[in-house]
């Protein structure tokens, strides 16, 4: 069962942790696990610095997939609320591109469910990123390489 109060969304605006987790500690929740993926500082073999990652998604399919993952997580763990947010567009070095938050009665389930959601999202969701380098050049990240 998914829950109407779960939040699953791709968005072009910055991810805000405190508003994302507001009110998710419902019912018998005793733990909230939060995962943030951020753009890692990087340079390539030519010494160019990474400026940002530029995210693109097949929005309708990715949101369906993300809702499916939350439903699957709800079958496996006792979840109060789940939040799964992913950026589209430019995400500069150090800024978050993905946010997962899960409330559960105890911490072990929160960590497990959170890890399941981020691992499955990365493996399946129809989202792509392109590296944007300081000299303006770009390169698509190959999903099987990273």
């Amino acid at each position: 069962m998914s829950c109407d109060a779960d939040i699953v969304k791709l968005q072009g605006t910055p991810l805000d942790v405190s508003s994302a987790i507001e009110g998710i500690g419902v019912g018998d929740s005793g733990a909230i696990a939060i995962f943030l993926g951020i753009t890692r500082r990087d340079s390539d073999s030519l010494g160019r610095e990474l400026v940002a990652l530029d995210y693109e998604a097949y929005l309708e399919m990715a949101e369906n997939q993300m809702r499916g993952l939350v439903e699957e997580a709800r079958r496996r763990w006792q979840i109060g609320r789940a939040v799964l947010l992913h950026r589209t567009g430019f995400v500069k070095v150090g800024e978050p591109s993905v946010l997962v938050a899960v409330s559960t009665p105890h911490r072990a389930e929160a960590f497990e469910a959170c890890r399941f959601l981020i691992d499955q999202l990365k493996a399946q969701a129809t989202i792509w990123k392109k590296e944007v380098w300081a000299d303006g050049s770009t390169s698509w990240v190959d999903g099987q390489r990273k």
């Binding site: 981020i118 990365k122 792509w128």
Partner: protein
């Protein structure tokens, strides 16, 4: 019959097309449609063997049949997160 074709990421960038309609024969499989896409858009033909396909928002097998009005999306290896 007509199928809506959607292209993403490197496939979209190389073709300059994110969505279009293609006319294909009745009874075509996903594999046959992908071959047709490769003939029409030769600049991505080398990438198509590694692209997955989705029909109407769900991953599809190469042998699945297409129907008039379907949305066929070609999905390069994903890299979200």
């Amino acid at each position: 019959m007509r199928v809506r074709l959607r292209l993403f990421a490197i496939l979209r960038e190389r073709t300059g097309i994110s969505e279009t309609e293609i006319e294909i024969a009745e009874g075509m499989t996903v594999a046959m449609a992908v071959e047709e896409v490769g003939r029409r858009f030769v600049m991505i033909a080398d990438l198509l063997p590694r692209a997955a396909a989705a029909v109407n928002l769900a991953y599809a097998g190469r042998q699945d049949l297409l129907h008039d009005g379907d949305e066929l999306a070609l999905i390069p290896p994903v890299s979200g997160g």
